[in-house]
């Protein structure tokens, strides 16, 4: 269950650190994925490649398809066409549907942090975090608890282990959401607008945690509206609009010298809304 190159079991200070990556080989590739909801074509041929240890930020206006791309990476959405390859595995053809086994395999290797944290309201913080490891990965409970406690300590929530989600602030809930994902020791972390539902003053504490993860070498795909943050943490920024990738590049290039007019427009509107 647990990938060999995932982060080691809970070990105090380096609880968040993934084990040393053997290389920066390609972890995930999707090619030419398409998806329609009814008559609305949200993805019109999108390619994406994610290397180990890389942070990819997906940006773009609402309805650009960025969240659908993200949700296609773990089978929450099944594209109508296109292919997906994960870690050298067989190429999955979406047109043929996503077989159950492949769907489970993807979810076994990845974890997701949601916009609305989606913590389980009937479970305590600790129970939320160990649910996956104990119930799905069959990790012995004592080991899962020790790991969860170390992870919670890392994000400053050790003393909240027995609280219920509704007793936490939005920022704390989202940090638990991140810990719940990390506890699965995934190869790939997916973030779906992790700060969009938060009060402005709570955004920083969540972004700080994500930044730390990036620095520690986790492989991440992040859908975000926080452009300054994307610029800071991403190795590659992908700008989507109208269901296609308009432009992609290193953040330094894309944010300062965008090649496409559409990118420039979008950035102007976000970064200088009152000009």
């Amino acid at each position: 269950m647990s990938p060999t190159d995932g982060p080691g079991a809970a070990g105090g200070g380096d609880a968040l650190a993934p084990a040393a990556r053997p290389d920066d080989s390609v972890l995930l590739t999707v090619s030419n994925i398409r998806k329609s909801f009814g008559a609305n074509e949200v993805l019109r041929g999108v390619d994406l490649e994610v290397r180990r240890g890389e942070v990819v930020a997906l940006i773009g206006p609402s309805g650009s398809g960025k969240t659908t791309v993200l949700r296609s990476l773990n089978g929450l959405e099944t594209p109508d066409a296109g292919t997906l390859e994960f870690d050298g595995g067989p190429s999955l053809d979406f047109a043929a549907g996503l077989p159950k086994g492949a769907r489970f395999a993807l979810r076994d290797r990845s974890a997701m942090v949601f916009q609305q944290h989606n913590l389980f309201p009937h479970l305590t913080v600790l129970e939320n975090v160990i649910e996956g490891p104990v119930q799905v990965q069959r990790t012995p409970k004592a080991k899962a608890v020790a790991q969860a406690e170390a992870l919670l300590a890392r994000v400053g929530l050790a003393e909240k282990r027995d609280a219920y989600p509704f007793e936490l602030s939005g920022g704390q809930q989202q940090r638990v959401g991140i810990v719940r994902a990390l506890a699965l020791e995934p190869d790939l972390l997916l973030f779906d607008e992790p700060t969009s539902a938060l009060d402005p003053e709570l955004v920083g504490e969540v972004l700080t945690v994500i930044k730390e993860l990036a620095d520690e070498g986790w492989t991440m795909v992040i859908v975000t509206h926080e452009l300054a943050f994307a610029r800071q943490v991403a190795d590659e920024v992908v700008f989507l609009d109208g269901g296609v990738i308009v432009e992609r590049g290193a953040p330094g290039q894309l944010f300062t010298a965008p090649r496409e007019a559409r990118t420039r427009q979008f950035l102007d509107r976000i970064l200088r809304p009152f000009d």
Partner: protein, 221 residues
């Protein structure tokens, strides 16, 4: 007047005992069996398979579209014609269970649908199957939502079990009927039966309140 009071007092415990030994076990057993059935029917109704969903819908429609008394009579008086002779007690339990199965199925279905879609997705993304997400994540939350309406179903059932007196099951109302027939004090005995049903339901309502408070943490705040 004194005679009436004496009759009231003398018949009080026999009628209460009829409730404790007849009404309550009849209601409890039927409710538990009915809930299991209802969960199955609710899942049929929610199935993406059209045939299964139609079977669930048909069941609910028949149960809700026919009187409980008719259901009871079909099972007790009707089935013997097909060579299926069932004693009064099991007949009553079968009829009430089938009835609860229909009504509670709709409550459970609505409760499952009331759990936000994100909870299913969170279950999937930590690697759970559909069935496991349902069992570990969705049903605990749906259970909390369905406590008030299911409590109402149970309280209705407790009163509806009086119909079992018509197929000769000895329960609260039949005890009262027998004493009434013997003493010819119909008004007194039927009012007394009503009072005792009401007392039973008061206790059950209090229990419902306690249960709701204990399950409060299961609500998504």
């Amino acid at each position: 007047m004194n005679e009436s009071l004496q009759l009231f007092l003398d018949s009080f415990w026999p009628i209460v005992w009829g409730g404790i030994s007849g009404t309550i076990p009849l209601a409890l057993i039927s409710f538990v069996v009915g809930l299991v059935l209802a969960l199955g029917v609710a899942l049929l109704r929610l199935s993406k398979n059209r045939v299964l969903a139609a079977i669930g819908r048909f069941y609910v429609s028949v149960i809700r579209g026919t009187p409980l008394l008719v259901q009871l009579f079909v099972i007790f008086y009707g089935l013997p014609a097909l060579g299926l002779l069932i004693d009064p007690w099991p007949s009553a339990i079968v009829a009430f269970s089938l009835n609860v199965g229909g009504y509670a199925a709709e409550i459970i279905r609505a409760a499952i649908l009331s759990v936000p879609k994100g909870q299913w997705e969170a279950g999937y993304t930590i690697g759970m199957s559909n069935a496991k997400t349902l069992r570990r994540i969705i049903l605990p939350q749906a259970a909390r939502v369905s406590v008030p309406p299911l409590s109402n179903t149970f309280i209705s059932l407790v009163k509806d079990t009086s119909l079992a007196s018509l197929i000769l099951v000895t329960e609260l109302f039949r005890v009262a009927q027998q004493i009434a027939a013997f003493s010819q004090q119909f008004m007194l005995l039927y009012l007394e039966a009503a009072l005792i049903y009401w007392l039973f339901c008061l206790v059950l309502s209090a229990g419902q309140g306690v249960l709701e408070r204990r399950l409060d943490r299961y609500v998504a705040h």
